[in-house]
C-alpha cells in the first residue's frame, strides 16, 4: 500500500475546497498546503530537486506574496453571478486533457519515448565526457547550458518587471500626494 493515492486524493480535495472558499486568506493558506503536498509527491517520484523548488517557492514565497497582496486588497471574494459558459469551457478542456492522458506512457514505463531515445545518451555521455555524478546538473549546465542561461535571464526579467510595476508606482504616489514622510513607504 503506497501513500501516493492518499496524497493525490488530498490534492483533489484541496483544489475543490480552494474553489469553494470565499475567504481569500484561507484560500491562500490552502494553496500553500497544496504546494507542500505536491512537494511530497515529487519526493516520492525521486525528483528531490523539484520538491525543493515546490516547497520553497510554491509553499513558501508565493504564499507570502499572496498574503502581501491580500493586505492591499479585500480578503473576501465577491459573490459573482453564476455564468454557465466558463463552466462548460472548463469541463470540455478537462475532458480533452483526460482523453490526452490515454496516449501518455505509464509512470516509470521503461519503453516510454523519453527513456529509449534521449535518456541513455545523457546517462552514458555524462560519465564519458563530463565526469559529474549528478546527471541532472550535467544536462542543465553542460548539455543545455544555453537554455539555462535563458531561464536565468527570464527570472531576472521577471524581477525587473515586478520592480518596474510596483516599486516605481510607489514613488509616483509619494510624489503625487503631499504627505508627511511618515507613511513608511521609503525606499
Amino acid at each position: 500500500m503506497t501513500v501516493e493515492p492518499f496524497l493525490f486524493g488530498f490534492l483533489i480535495v484541496m483544489a475543490v475546497v480552494i474553489i469553494r472558499m470565499r475567504s481569500l486568506l484561507a484560500a491562500a493558506m490552502l494553496s500553500g498546503i497544496f504546494s507542500l503536498i505536491s512537494a511530497g509527491l515529487f519526493v516520492l517520484m525521486d525528483a528531490v530537486d523539484v520538491a525543493f523548488t515546490e516547497a520553497a517557492v510554491g509553499a513558501g514565497i508565493s504564499t507570502v506574496l499572496f498574503l502581501g497582496t491580500l493586505s492591499l486588497t479585500p480578503t473576501q471574494e465577491r459573490q459573482g453571478k453564476f455564468r454557465p459558459l466558463p463552466l462548460v469551457a472548463v469541463i470540455i478542456t478537462g475532458l480533452v486533457l483526460l482523453w490526452g492522458i490515454a496516449d501518455m506512457p505509464y509512470y516509470g514505463d521503461p519503453s516510454a519515448p523519453a527513456h529509449v531515445y534521449l535518456a541513455p545518451e545523457y546517462i552514458q555521455g555524462t560519465a564519458e565526457h563530463f565526469h559529474i555524478p549528478n546527471i541532472v546538473t550535467a544536462v542543465l549546465g553542460s548539455y543545455r547550458g544555453y537554455d539555462t542561461f535563458g531561464e536565468t535571464t527570464v527570472i531576472f526579467t521577471a524581477a525587473t518587471g515586478v520592480l518596474l510595476l510596483l516599486a516605481h508606482r510607489r514613488q509616483d504616489e509619494d510624489e503625487l500626494t503631499s504627505d508627511p514622510p511618515d507613511t513608511g513607504a521609503e525606499e
Binding site: G60, I61, V64, L65, S142, G145, T152, V162, L163, A167
Partner: protein
C-alpha cells in the same frame, strides 16, 4: 504586511525563537544545495529559492526594515543583474579562450567542466536569490489598505 504592525510577529515568543534557530540552518542548507549540486540533487535554482525563503522568513518575523538593513535593496538589484552577468561572462571567457559559448573544458583541461558548472550555478543562485528577494521587497514595501485610506 509587516509594515503596519512590525511588533506583532516579533512578540510571539515561539515564532521568534523557532525562526531564530531555523533561519541559519535554512541558509546553510541553501549553500549546501548550491555547492553540492554536482553530486547530489539541487543546484543554483533550488539553492536560490531556499536562500530567498530564509530571507523572507526573517523579513516576516522581524519586519521589512530589519531585513533591508541586513540585505539592502540596492545590493539585491546589483546581485540580480550580477548573477546573469557572471553566467554570460563565463560564456564570453570560453569564447575568448578559443572555445564555443559555454564550452567549459577550455577553462582547464582537467577540471574545466567542474569550474564552469560551479561558476554558472553560482550565477543562477545569485540571480534567483536576488530576484525572489526583490519581488518580496516590492510586495512587502507597498502601503496597506488602511494606510491608503488614511490619506
Amino acid at each position: 504586511m509587516s509594515k503596519p504592525n512590525p511588533m506583532r510577529m516579533r512578540e510571539m515568543v515561539v515564532v521568534r525563537e523557532v525562526s531564530r534557530i531555523l533561519i541559519p540552518f535554512i541558509l546553510l542548507f541553501a549553500l549546501y544545495v548550491q555547492f553540492h549540486g554536482d553530486f547530489g540533487p539541487g543546484g543554483g535554482f533550488q539553492a536560490g529559492v531556499i536562500f530567498a525563503a530564509g530571507l523572507v522568513l526573517y523579513g516576516l518575523i522581524h519586519g521589512l526594515d530589519a531585513l533591508q538593513r541586513a540585505v539592502p535593496p540596492r545590493l539585491i538589484e546589483v546581485l540580480a543583474a550580477g548573477g546573469v552577468m557572471l553566467y554570460g561572462g563565463v560564456g564570453l571567457v570560453t569564447i575568448a579562450l578559443g572555445g564555443q559559448f559555454l564550452e567549459y573544458k577550455v577553462l582547464d583541461p582537467h577540471h574545466g567542466e567542474h569550474w564552469g558548472l560551479l561558476l554558472i550555478e553560482g550565477g543562477v543562485g545569485i540571480t534567483v536569490t536576488a530576484s525572489m528577494t526583490a519581488i518580496f521587497y516590492a510586495f512587502a514595501g507597498r502601503d496597506t489598505v488602511q494606510n491608503q485610506e488614511k490619506r
